[in-house]
C-alpha cells in the first residue's frame, strides 16, 4: 500500500519502497546485523555446552562429603584442595593488594610524569607475561634456589606477582579518574595531600580498586601453571606454609586424564571445575554489588 501511495507522491524520494532506489543497501544493512549476531551464537554455544557438561559430570555425585572429605585413593572429596586454594588466594591477595595499591597510588599521584609512564608500561607488560613464565621464575627462585622444595608459600608469592598488575592498573586508573575539581577543591581548602587522598580520593577510588582486587582474585584462582610449578601436590591440609598443598585447579590438572576405570578421579576434577566456576561467578557478582553499593553511597554523600 505504501508503494501505491508513493506513485505520484512528491516526497517519493524519501519513501522506503519507492521504485528506483538502491534497496540492496538497506537489505545488506539488515542482513549484516543478523550475520554478526551469529558470531555470538558461535561463541555462546560452546560456553553453554561447557557449563552443561561440567554440571552434568559434577552434580550427580556432589554431596557435603565433596566439600568436607579429603581425597583418599581414587575417592573422597576436595576438602584439602578447597582449603589450599583459599590459603594461597588469601596470601597472594594480600601480597598483590599491598604492592598493587601502593604502587598504583604512587603512579597516579606522586610519580613524575616519566616514571609514571614507565610504571604503567611495566604494569601492562607484567600483565602480559605468560603465567608459565612466572611459574618458572617462582620455580627457580623459591623452590630450587632456596632449597625449600615445593611449598605453599612459593605458590602464594608467585600467584601474588601474577595478580599485582591487575590491582596496580585498577588503582592507578581509579586515582587518575578522580575528578579534577575534587582535587583542586580539597587542596584549595588547605587539605594536605594525605588528607586529600584519605578523605576525598580514596572513597571515590575505592570501588574501582576493589573491582581490580576481585578481578585479580578471580584470575589468580583460575591459574594453574604457576602453582603446578611451585606448590607441588598434597591431598591433606598443610600444617605450615613450607609444605606442599592441594588446590582446585590442580585437582583438574592432576585428575583430568584418568580413565573412568580409575574410580572417581575424573568426577573429582569436574567437581573442582564446578566449584571454580561458582567462585568466579560469585566474585564477578561481588564486583557488581560493591561498585553499585559505593556508587550509591557516594551519590548520597554528594547529594
Amino acid at each position: 500500500m505504501a508503494v501505491q501511495n508513493s506513485t505520484g507522491n512528491p516526497a517519493g524520494d524519501i519513501l522506503r519502497y519507492s521504485p528506483g532506489h538502491l534497496r540492496l543497501r538497506f537489505v545488506i544493512d539488515k542482513i549484516v546485523g543478523w550475520v554478526l549476531l551469529l558470531a555470538f551464537l558461535a561463541v555462546l554455544f560452546p560456553l553453554a555446552d561447557m557449563l552443561y557438561w561440567v554440571g552434568e559430570k559434577a552434580l550427580p555425585t556432589f554431596t557435603m562429603n565433596t566439600l568436607t572429605l579429603n581425597q583418599v585413593g581414587t575417592g573422597g572429596g576436595l576438602h584439602s584442595m578447597i582449603v589450599g586454594t583459599f590459603i594461597i588466594l588469601i596470601l597472594s591477595t594480600v601480597i598483590a593488594t599491598g604492592i598493587g595499591v601502593l604502587a598504583g597510588m604512587y603512579t597516579a599521584e606522586f610519580a613524575p610524569r616519566r616514571v609514571a609512564e614507565a610504571g604503567r608500561v611495566a604494569g601492562y607488560l607484567l600483565a602480559g607475561v605468560p603465567a608459565i613464565v612466572l611459574g618458572y621464575f617462582g620455580f627457580y627462585l623459591l623452590v630450587i634456589y632456596t632449597k625449600w622444595d615445593y611449598n605453599t608459600l612459593a605458590g602464594a608469592i608467585t600467584l601474588g606477582i601474577f595478580m599485582v598488575p591487575f590491582v596496580y592498573r585498577a588503582t592507578d586508573l581509579a586515582f587518575v579518574n578522580v575528578p579534577h575539581d575534587q582535587r583542586e577543591g580539597a587542596l584549595a581548602m588547605g587539605a594536605s595531600r594525605f588528607q586529600y587522598l584519605r578523605r576525598v580520593a580514596f572513597p571515590i577510588a575505592m570501588p574501582t580498586i576493589l573491582s581490580g582486587v576481585f578481578l585479580a582474585m578471580a584470575l589468580g584462582m583460575g591459574e594453574t601453571a604457576p602453582l603446578v610449578l611451585t606448590v607441588g601436590w598434597s591431598n591433606t591440609v598443610p600444617t605450615n606454609l613450607l609444605q606442599p598443598t592441594g588446590y582446585l585447579t590442580g585437582a583438574i590438572w592432576n585428575f583430568y586424564d584418568f580413565p573412568s576405570t580409575y574410580g572417581s578421579f575424573q568426577t573429582l576434577a569436574f567437581q573442582a571445575a564446578f566449584l571454580l566456576i561458582l567462585i568466579v561467578i560469585a566474585l564477578n557478582v561481588g564486583v557488581q554489588i560493591i561498585s553499585e553499593h559505593y556508587r550509591r553511597k557516594l551519590r548520597g554523600l554528594v547529594g
Partner: protein, 332 residues
Amino acid sequence: MVEGRNFVPTKGDIRSGVGPMQLASAASPSGGYADDIPGTGFMGSPVAGRSSTRYMSPSESTQNAPLEEMASTPQPPGGPAAVAPLISVKDLWVWAGKKPILSGISLDFNDREVTALIGPSGCGKTTFIRTLNRMSDVSPGLRVKGLIQYKGQDIHSRSVNPVLLRQRVGMVFQRSTVFPMSIFDNVAFGLRLIRERRDVISERVTESLRRAGLYEELKDNLNRSALTLSGGQQQRLCIARALAVNPRVLLLDEPTSSLDPSATQKVEDLLFELKREYAVVIVTHNMQQAARVADRTAFLYQGKLVEFDETKRLFENPREKLTESYVTGRFG
C-alpha cells in the same frame, strides 16, 4: 486512525491548496517505529533500545502533554497556501527524559529561502533542526512528538526511510566533521554510498566543490588529505559534501561559530548562492548573521517559538516584547 496512517497527501492535495493544518489531522502519524535508523536498535525493532528516540503520535500522547496554550504560537506571515512549504512542522514536542526541550513548535520552511533560527544557547535550536532530518533518532533518550512533513509526507511515517530522508535533507555541523581521507573522497562519500558511476562521481564532486566556492582554491590538490585544510575550508568542504548527494534542504547548525570573520564571510556569501536552489535552515547564536543572511527568522526561547517573521520585520519591529529585548541585546 490505523487506516489513516498510510494516507499520504498527493500532489493534487497540495496544489489544490489544502493547508497543512487539515493534512495534519488526516495524516495522523503512526505510533510505530521506523526500523532502520542507523546506530540504534536492532532490525525491525524500534531502533530503539539504545538510542530510542521514541516517536509518539500526537493523539497517543496528548493527555501527557503539559497544558500549555498551543494556539499562542504565531503563524508565519504570508499564508502557507501561497507556496507549499518544503518542510512543515506542526506542534513539535521533544523531551529528554521528563524535561521538555521543545514545546509545541510550529514552523514552515520554504524552498529557495534562508530561514534562520536564533535564540540564547540551550533554547533547543540544535535539537530542533536535528529532528528535521531525524538525526534526533541517534541521540539517546529523546522523545519526539508532533508532525513534521517533508513535501507533505510525514517523516515519522513507517514508509519513510530515514536514510533516504537524510540524503534529501542534508546537514552541516557546528564543528567541521571532515573524514580523515582525501578532499575528493570526502565529497564523493555520499555518492559512493548510492553507487554512482565513476564519471558521475567526479563530475558531481567538481560541481559541488564549485558550488561551495572551493573548486578554484583546491582543484589541483583534490587528493590532499582534507585534514590539511583550514577551518573555513573544512566547513565549506562539509557543505560541498552535503551538496554532492543532491539534497533539497540544507540544515546548518551554527556553521560559522568556530570560524574567523573572513571565513565566516565566505560561508555567508555561499548561503546567498545556495538559496537559489535549496531551502536553507541556519541555526545561529549570532543575531547579526541572521540579519545578514536570512529571509525569515524564528526566535526560540526556552523551547518555545516566540516569534517567526520576515527577518527585517523581526529585527526592526518585533511583535513580542521578548524578541525585542533579545534582538536589542538585553539578554542572551
